[in-house]
């Protein structure tokens, strides 16, 4: 099975990259293993409680993808810098279920194991 990694860096509403990334991931999951790494401002996508009226709720989409088997991870440094802290299990109470905070070294591992890497960044 091929592996695809999607890297997101924008905040949830400055662009549609989050939603686009989720659509790509949703299709890719039918035939591939999918990793999604939230980097820089993209860690805000994982934050629960957003109720956007004009935009997709990307955190919920990411959580759904995680439930379908995607590995959805958020950078620990970027998260901590923005006030999101995780326990030892990587679970952050502020985040949607299935999205874990992890070391940036996991991004390197994802890149190394991937057949395709897609960075969506404004």
């Amino acid at each position: 099975m091929k592996t695809i990694t999607i890297i997101l860096t924008d905040g949830p509403y400055i662009s549609e990259y989050g939603e686009i990334g989720c659509k790509i991931a949703s299709q890719a999951l039918r035939m591939s293993h999918v990793n999604i790494f939230l980097y820089l401002d993209a860690v805000h996508m994982a934050h629960r409680g957003h109720k956007p009226s004009l935009f997709a709720e990307v955190g919920r989409l990411l959580s759904d993808l995680a439930e379908r088997g995607a590995e959805v991870r958020a950078c620990a440094r970027c998260s901590a810098a923005r006030g999101y802290l995780a326990g030892e299990d990587g679970i952050c109470p502020d985040f949607y279920q299935g999205i874990k905070i992890t070391s940036l070294y996991d991004l390197a591992g994802m890149i190394e194991e991937s057949d395709r890497v897609i960075a969506l960044s404004g």
């Binding site: 890297i7 970027c78 390197a108 890149i111």
Partner: protein, 116 residues
């Protein structure tokens, strides 16, 4: 034996005032088991300048980060330096210069290109 994977990170924004350069250097630093290159293009070439003093900004010096990870190859797009009148300025010692063709060749040769 399979050769090491190569990763090309592309930076086209200035090093300070935005987290992208810091983010790219950190992402490159964790990839040093692979062949990793940071390509500086457009305003990204300001990151190549020697003697960066970021203390007035109260943020880490990104040139220190470059010095800390000599395994990360730094490639600066020469036309971008020239367009910004930076060709006479001192650059970090191991920054390599590349013209348009060389720069694009390096991107095409990489297993993956990541623009943040």
């Amino acid at each position: 034996m399979r050769s090491k994977k190569s990763v090309f990170y592309l930076l086209d924004s200035a090093p300070y005032g935005c987290e992208k350069a810091y983010g790219i250097l950190n992402a490159a630093a964790v990839c040093i088991k692979m062949d990793v290159t940071v390509g500086l293009y457009a305003d990204g070439v300001y990151l190549a300048l020697a003697g960066q003093d970021s203390r007035p900004l109260a943020v880490p010096s990104l040139s220190d980060l470059i010095y800390a990870y000599p395994e990360v190859r730094i490639l600066a797009h020469e036309p971008s330096l020239a367009e910004r009148s930076l060709m006479s300025r001192a650059l970090i010692e191991w920054v390599e210069l590349a013209d348009d063709t060389d720069f694009m060749t390096q991107i095409r040769a990489a297993d993956c290109m990541i623009a943040l």
